[in-house]
Amino acid sequence: MSTPQLRQLPNGGHPVQRKLHGNSTVAPDRTVSTTCPYCGVGCNLQLHIKDELIYKVTSDFEHPVNQGNLCVKGRFGYDFIYSNKRVTTPLIRKQAQTPGARTQAIDRSEWREVSWDEALDYTADRLVEIYKRDGEHAMAVYCCAKATNEDNYLLQKIYRALFRTNNVDHCTRLCHAGSVTALLKSINSAAMSNTAAEVIDSDCFIITGSNPSENHPIIGLQMKAAVEKYGSKLIVIDPRKIEMSDFAALWLPLKPGTNVPVFNAMAHVIVNEGLVNREFVEARTTGYADYVKTLDKFTPGYAEEISGVDRNLIIEAARMYARARRGMIFWGMGISQLSHGTASSLGLIHLAFLTGHVGRKATGLNPLRGQNNVQGASDMGAMPFFYPGYQLVDDEKNAQNWEQLWNVEPGGLNRKRGLTTTEILTHAHPGGVRALHIMGENPMMSEPNLNETREHMQQLEFIVAQDLFVNESGAFADVFLPATSWAEKDGTITNTDRRVQRVRQAIAPRGQSRPDWEILCDLAQRIEARLGRPNSAHWNYNSPAEIMAEFGKLDTNYAGVTYGRIERHGLQTPVPHATHPGTPFLFANEFPSGRGKFIPVDYVPIMEPPDEEYPFILTTGRVLEHWHGGSMTRNSALNEIYPAPVVEVNPVDAAWANFTDGQPVRVSSRRGSVVLRMHVTEKARAGVLFMAMHFAEAAANLLTNDALDPQAKIPEYKACAVKIEPAAEQDLPHPDVLTKRGRW
């Protein structure tokens, strides 16, 4: 980068006065083994603690998930728990909020510190008042893919058993809903089929719409090793020249949103060149004949025209994957976060069906889950269609089972499917959703088209925020319940390859903060008393282990998981009984649906293609150093090494518009505009800009399109039309802060 200098880092790299030999080394008061709070990989962490300060993190070299390796977030990024912006006292808004005129209270002076009793009584009063007046459809809750299985189970139980609503969802809707819908339709299972570490045993693997070396760094390491040490061939199908493409045999740089033609063209090649695994297709799938007919138009030439990928690359990729003995597919948000996310995922599933690369070790369909516990939160029924264990809410038998377990009168539970994350907010109006309980999520950063999200948030009558920080969404709340972080509570989380692992309390709760499960038990008891229900649904748990024992009764995947069995290395679900060793890979004999279904998909262009006014496609994603809405990482030392947002622009586009590296630019879509610095890099494909979603001061989601996939209801984060214009230094939110790193 040419312009401003790297700002001074702490101590500015200056020499430090050295103590003489014999430094006093620090001996920890204790070390606590736990699981990382960031991504879905689920690395083991050993927290070294002195005077309640976690001063060092190491990891177990024998651990099956990460073999002692960590990334910058896991090893150094835990200090958000000590941030002085963290709120550790219950708060109630001073100014009463009214629907339509709701404001954001960023400043602490707008809040009143209250006791836990007052905060919980107030919350219960308001929730029950709204429920009694407007009924179950007025209630809604966002569960949390960062919280434990036990926390999520309890929260959905409160809203289902007490408020009789299925308006229960969480951020899985915004990340892998497309994949989950596609997988459920074709094989009736939604998890990663294999263990990520099996990649070293594959002969060929595809990474598409995913940037593992930044977003699943430890799986990224295993993938690099698979290529460099174990001779596996990597095919990267991605519009960005991500780091993994340096390790790839083939890189297919497609235009955002053209997955379906590329995948279908690969299928076309596999079928026409006789590379189909006949045995597998006949024994394990249905619908092949009808599916093959739909492939005729998807010639490699046709795909090249639409996607911009050389047809020979498509042909070569198809052959490489089909001829492998063991082929794996890993995918991420680039597949699912599109208005045709379900179709994109189906395109990939078909490739695995055609080649029989599923149901064996080192093969499979592997949607890399983002959050540390998005798999677990989904398993726990934090979704509008399912009770825990993916049991449909509109199935009478399921409802009766849960009524029995929760001591709810027969017919009491709601049999109607609820609203999804995105729909909950669009239904925020009189007669629709009135009360929203947000545990740990931040829709004001994570929803698409934030200007509209803001209007929806303003329409709500009552908002409860349960979190560590008053973030952009919590600032809209009426009451704030301070929860403990992962380091201050016990529980379990389930990682991307279905491994249920322990989270352990390492330090005392900060201030008055309390573990989510305790907050929820107290709140539930107050709600239940106010509702005057004849039966109690039991809220007097003594420990998270008791909560797990309860859902294990009806969720067969977790039936054999007990705290005693997951002390050290965890267990991979399904674990159907108490001596079952866990399941490293799924579908060895059959799919949960019996046979896998081929479901033909056609090409649908992105909802907002570039035009003369908005000539670029913006695609969004994440960076190594930051996490989602930034509540954690931007309150951490991580922010020091990546302090400001940039927009990545290809050198060709930059030269065409006479832009220079580091220059401030304004990026605008039809929905909003932001100012930030540009970073000229080959990583971006020509015609495509990239922005990370973490930075509130230039929030990528002000620009993104809220068009939804019709089946999965997932928004099209990965492609919208934007324009880019020069801006002045003083238009930048923080002109003096510059991100400059050698790792680019």
């Binding site: 880092l9 030999h21 620090v26 190491t58 150094f76 790792r743």
Partner: protein
């Protein structure tokens, strides 16, 4: 080639799979050979030579971490020649570097009755502490050049290749290319290097500040860095 190899370790007959290192063979025979640079999860490079053992008939001592078993070998893991060699290695290490924070080496100095004053007039390596990022510090006066950090940064784990040897002889040290700061290098701050450093040369900054006598609140403020901007919330 046969699948197994029979040999004698300290007079004890043992049969192990072909290709086993002498270090692992000794371990199977119930004998511990001391190591410094060796780490189970890193490629062994036989750099420190502390693990040398005597193989009868061989001209020089063999580094057990990389030397593999051969049929009929007679190995001595701790005889006088081996002891003298290990003791000298430890004394030399101690003479040039600060090994005070390496508990394993402290134990070995004791076990081998090292004469801590033997090379007392030697020059001590005392480069300045490098504190160029909020994550960890690099105090190469404690570095024994075991190469673990270089290995995990490269093909043993991270494939990032941010650090390597620089300089020659006594001036050898671990460095980024052209001695750039870590933020300017290709470093991704995964800290794999910190995780395998045996001597405290690489240390989380928070731990280091605690050692300097700072209170937890000061430690956190220091690693948060100066000039932190409030997030702009509109």
């Amino acid at each position: 080639m046969p699948d197994t190899v029979s040999l004698h370790i300290d007079g004890q007959p043992i049969t192990v799979p072909a290709g086993t290192t002498l270090l692992n063979a000794a371990s199977l025979a119930g004998t511990t050979v001391p190591t410094i640079c060796y780490h189970q999860h890193c490629t062994a490079n036989a750099l420190c030579r502390l693990c040398v053992v005597e193989v009868e008939g061989a001209r020089v001592l063999a580094p057990a971490c990389v030397a593999t078993v051969a049929e009929g070998m007679r190995v001595h893991t701790r005889n006088e020649r081996v002891e003298r060699s290990r003791r000298t290695i430890l004394e030399l290490l101690h003479s040039a570097t600060d090994v005070s924070e390496a508990p394993e080496i402290q134990q070995q100095l004791d076990d081998y009755h090292a004469d801590l004053e033997r090379f007392d007039d030697c020059e001590h390596r005392e480069p300045e502490i490098i504190d160029d990022n909020p994550m960890f510090i690099r105090d190469y006066s404690k570095c024994i050049l075991c190469w673990r950090c270089v290995q995990v940064c490269a093909a043993d784990a991270q494939f990032t290749y941010a650090i390597n040897f620089s300089g020659r002889g006594f001036e050898t040290s671990i460095s980024t290319f052209f001695e750039q700061s870590l933020t300017e290098s290709s470093c991704v701050f995964c800290g794999q290097c910190v995780g395998v450093c045996p001597t405290g040369a690489l240390k989380p900054k928070r731990e280091w500040l605690l050692e300097q006598g700072q209170a937890p609140a000061e430690v956190l403020a220091a690693t948060r860095g100066p000039g932190k901007k409030q997030r702009d919330r509109k």
